[in-house]
């Protein structure tokens, strides 16, 4: 699959990594949900893991430019997000599937994705092709002209993925994309992730450790708003070691082992290697 | 008490109550300004319309399927919801009499609220709770040409009297019958069918 590359995109490669956070603090309501996070991510598929309330969604939302950081620095595609007024250039290169994906129920799938691509200021000439390609990539081609409200939960999720990738983003943020997908669709989705990861920085927030193990090139584990672990999936599996943590697979055991170890030493600030 | 409180909150009753309260206060305030007796009846009718239109939102929960699937016997509860809410609106609007001269007779307020609330309930069953106020609002708007001071309500034939029930004087039998039919039909259909999703 060839993706459209604009001149602006090829020019802007002077930054070190696609997403870079230093001492990042982001508020979610009154709570400081992300509290002193250091993180660096580049092209590839990054699986964002963590228990409920760890700050995953808040982190994703701040990278998506929905939330403004309360402290620290957040650099996305070489642009500092803190306090910037004009985020237009950056937003053109972001694809985002929110955890609670809202949509216009009366639009057809194609119309909705076309609408989103218009909002992402895509060139008009490229739009119809890009919309069709996005729909095909998530396997919704046979439902493209059905109303959004007639879709099942999994199909809505796939439509959400399609709208996120329609503009060939350089940063793709997917908050729980696999919720509601059947096993077959999840396999397809993993394949899609691998394909996207070759030239895009994909951040997938999920609870499904096996998705991460199967499709991600990089695992990010956070807890209480801080980074606990970052490494390749093999490291996650290896982290379990002799420790017989809870879980049915090596990755799951590694996940729970790292978390437990982190919490045992939670009184002292810890950054995982 | 707690299940009741939760139920009320799930049905946006606080917001509805606020809206109805605002209507009552506005009614009272306008009552201080307008002294033309016929316009006072019009004001009372519109306040009743606003109060009942506000009820529409409460006729459906946040999630249609979740409501459907829960183990409560819905029909009596739905009927009770409409009846209690309607009575509350009547009470509030009639209570404006306590702080000043009443805009319209309590009987007239009760008849109009009953009929309009029935229409809202019918609307919820037919077109869904969020669109339910369409029915009473459009009916009233169409009839208002015959409302004093803009016109005189027809006195015959009977079908015209029934169609303009909300602007008829309180002693008009056909108008009372029309309002009662709407109240019963609306409450029953909503109790049996529930809100259309």
């Amino acid at each position: 699959m060839v993706r459209a590359v604009s001149a602006a995109e090829t020019a802007a490669t002077t930054y070190a990594s696609a997403i870079h956070a230093e001492g990042l603090r982001v508020r979610a309501g009154r709570r400081m949900a992300v509290d002193g996070l250091d993180l660096s991510m580049d092209t590839g598929v990054h699986g964002l893991l963590g228990p409920n309330g760890a700050g995953k969604t808040t982190l994703v939302r701040s990278i998506a430019t929905v939330l403004r950081p309360a402290g620290g620095t957040l650099t996305v595609l070489g642009e500092k997000v803190n306090g910037r007024i004009d985020l237009r250039g950056l937003r053109r290169q972001i694809g985002y599937l929110p955890q609670e994906f809202g949509f216009y129920r009366r639009f057809t799938v194609r119309e909705f994705i076309e609408y989103i691509s218009w909002l992402k200021e895509m060139p008009a000439a490229e739009t119809p092709g890009a919309v069709q390609r996005a729909i095909e990539r998530v396997g919704l081609a046979d439902r493209a002209d059905h109303r959004m409200k007639t879709l099942s939960g999994g199909m809505v999720r796939r439509a959400g993925i399609a709208q996120a990738i329609v503009n060939d983003p350089r940063i793709l943020l997917l908050d729980e994309p696999t919720a509601g997908l059947d096993p077959d669709q999840r396999m397809q989705f993993r394949a899609l992730l691998r394909q996207l990861g070759t030239d895009t920085c994909v951040l997938v927030s999920t609870h499904l450790v096996e998705d991460v193990a199967a499709a991600c090139t990089d695992v990010v584990l956070i807890d209480n708003g801080r980074l606990v672990f970052q490494g390749v999936p093999a490291d996650l599996a290896a982290a379990a070691g002799e420790d017989a943590g809870a879980g049915d697979s090596a990755a799951e055991r590694g996940y729970s082992a790292i978390l437990r170890r982190h919490r045992e030493t939670a009184s002292s600030p810890e950054t995982a290697s | 008490m707690r299940p009741l409180a939760l139920y009320l909150r799930s049905r946006a009753v606080p917001a509805t109550a606020t809206a109805v309260l605002v209507c009552a206060v506005a009614l009272w305030a306008i009552g201080l300004v307008v002294d033309h007796p016929q316009s006072r009846v019009l004001v009372a009718l519109l306040a009743a319309l606003a109060g009942t239109a506000a009820l529409g939102q409460g006729l459906a929960g946040a999630d249609h399927d979740l409501d459907r699937a829960s183990a409560i016997a819905w029909p009596p509860r739905r009927a009770a919801h409409v009846i209690v809410a309607g009575a509350a609106v009547v009470g509030l609007l009639a209570a404006t009499a306590l702080v000043g001269e009443q805009m319209a007779g309590t009987g007239q307020i009760a008849r109009n609220v009953a009929g309009l609330a029935g229409l809202v309930a019918l609307g919820a069953a037919v077109v869904g709770a969020d669109r339910a106020p369409l029915l009473p609002v459009i009916w009233t708007v169409l009839v208002l040409r015959y409302a004093p001071p803009m016109g005189e309500p027809p006195t015959r034939p009977t079908y015209k009297v029934m169609l303009t029930w909300m602007v008829q004087p309180i002693d008009t039998r056909a108008a009372t019958v029309a309002a009662a039919i709407l109240a019963v039909a609306g409450t029953l259909s909503y109790a049996v069918l529930g809100s259309r999703r």
């Binding site: 939302r61 998506a64 430019t65 929905v66 985020l87 237009r88 250039g89 950056l90 937003r91 053109r92 972001i94 985002y96 929110p98 609670e100 994906f101 809202g102 949509f103 216009y104 129920r105 009366r106 639009f107 119309e111 076309e114 609408y115 989103i116 218009w118 909002l119 992402k120 200021e121 008009a124 739009t127 709208q163 | 946006a12 917001a15 509805t16 809206a19 306008i30 300004v33 307008v34 033309h36 316009s39 019009l42 004001v43 519109l46 319309l49 606003a50 239109a53 506000a54 529409g56 939102q57 969020d130 106020p133 369409l134 609002v137 459009i138 708007v141 169409l142 208002l144 040409r145 803009m150």
Partner: protein, 454 residues
């Protein structure tokens, strides 16, 4: 691309559904509250009048659409898109404006079926009235969008319909407390027709139209700006058009409504047949020219045969011009109040009506008072028509003035008396009657006809 999005919004928003609903309500009211309209201008003014109902409905439709982003829980996703809000809302605002205009025009087209003469005179003064009505609807729908966006609750739309209707119904009573018809009535979306009821012959002055256009445009601009702005600080600036509009339009408004309504001169000008003898009719009634042409020429022929020298042309005038001046001898002048009550006249009826008073309009100075009605005068005029046509009064059909009126029995009695005279005497008396009518000379007309013979 914007065009594609506009098409999507038109098809998928509430725009067209709301337009259909509003148009249906409007057509229903236009049909139900009046007998068929005689003239376009009556319909156009009444359609402006019922903005009292349709304007709040448009406001509610706008609010319903305005809460869509909240209702669909799509705000989070939209917040991450680069396109600025004002660009994002342009297609939906346009779609809603199209719906508002369409609703207004469809309403007019639908109600046109309730016109008695679809081909009747269409005053140029009706065009700004229609355009301003449509503009008021656009303002309502945009204002609704803004309110729905600022108060995104499901209660907003129904409440706005009621509150909007209510304020339109009650506020005139408050505005009109000190003077009867202040010009500030023109600030309201609905329009009150001229008080004297002569809708068909009047139009709004250019000044009234312009100041109203300015005000409606200011309301619409503020609605759109409030809907399109994203920051509270710019929201304050959005109210600016409203203030500016008020500052300019309010002083520019005519001081009273009666000044705002002016005569439509074109409506009362006459249009004539191309061929001789000439038959003319006011432009307002020009649709009836074919209908009156035959009876008019017949009337000329009757007069030429029985009462020479006869007039050579016929002018059918509107009713409000009661003559006191001498009438030209070459013209048969007819007043046509009888065209407006919706009764269909046969050619026979028209012929009779044209010859009442020997084809001279009744003199205003001879019309009686409430204490002493003009029964005898009208009876005399009827007698002349029946005499000219050699017809009995019982058979003749006149509607508001004629044998069925109070003057009927008197006229029948007088006709018998006249016919009892010698033929020469009859003609002499009728000729004298016509000469007196033409100059509106004082005197008892019935006595002039029957005189000593009685």
């Amino acid at each position: 691309m914007g065009a594609r999005i506009l098409r999507i919004e038109l098809r998928r928003s509430v725009a067209l559904g709301a337009a259909a609903l509003i148009a249906a309500v409007g057509v229903f009211v236009l049909f139900a509250s009046n007998p068929p309209y005689g003239f376009w201008m009556e319909l156009v003014i009444f359609q402006r009048d019922i903005l009292q109902l349709t304007w709040p409905l448009a406001l509610a439709a706008g609010a319903w659409q305005g809460i869509r982003e909240r209702r669909s829980r799509i705000e989070e996703l939209l917040a991450t898109t680069p396109r600025p809000r004002w660009q994002r809302v342009l297609p939906i605002a346009t779609a809603m404006a199209i719906a508002a205009v369409a609703a207004y025009l469809v309403m007019l087209a639908g109600a046109a079926a309730h016109l008695r003469h679809l081909d009747g005179y269409f005053s140029l003064g009706a065009i700004p009235l229609i355009a301003l009505g449509a503009l008021a609807m656009v303002g309502a729908i945009w204002l609704g969008l803004a309110i729905g966006r600022l108060l995104p609750s499901p209660l907003t739309a129904p409440m706005l319909a009621v509150i909007g209707f209510f304020s339109l119904a009650v506020s005139p009573m408050i505005v009109a407390q000190d003077s009867r018809d202040p010009g500030t009535f023109l600030l309201f979306p609905y329009l009150q027709g001229p008080r004297d009821g002569g809708f068909a012959l009047q139009m709004l002055s250019a000044r009234a139209n312009l100041s109203q256009a300015l005000w409606f445009a200011a309301v619409a601009a503020t609605g759109l700006a409030l809907f399109a702005t994203s920051r509270p600080s710019t929201r304050v600036a959005a109210v600016l058009p409203l203030l500016l509009g008020a500052a300019v339009a309010v002083p520019a408004m005519p001081s009273t409504l009666s000044v705002a309504w002016i005569q439509d001169r074109r409506a009362t000008e006459v249009v004539c047949t191309d061929d001789e003898p000439e038959v003319c009719i006011t432009r307002l009634h020009s649709h009836a020219l074919d209908q009156v042409r035959g009876p008019a020429r017949q009337a000329l022929a009757v007069l030429a045969a029985k009462l020479p020298p006869a007039p050579t042309r016929v002018v059918v005038q509107t009713a409000d011009k009661g003559p006191e001046d001498p009438q030209p001898r070459d013209t048969l002048a007819v007043r046509i109040s009888f065209f407006e009550d919706g009764v269909e006249y046969t050619s026979e009826d028209l012929l009779f009506l044209m010859l009442i008073g020997a084809g001279v309009p009744p003199c205003a100075n001879l019309m009686g008072t409430r204490e002493k009605p003009e029964t005898e005068y009208l009876a005399a005029r009827l007698v002349v028509a029946a005499w000219l046509l050699d017809r009995d009064l019982a058979a003749a059909q006149g509607r508001d003035e004629g044998p069925e009126g109070p003057e009927g029995p008197l006229a029948r009695e007088a006709l018998t008396a006249v016919r009892g005279l010698a033929a020469d005497e009859q003609r002499a008396r009728v000729t004298a009657f016509r000469d007196a009518e033409r100059t509106c000379a004082e005197g008892d007309r019935l006595d002039m006809l029957t005189g000593a013979a009685r």
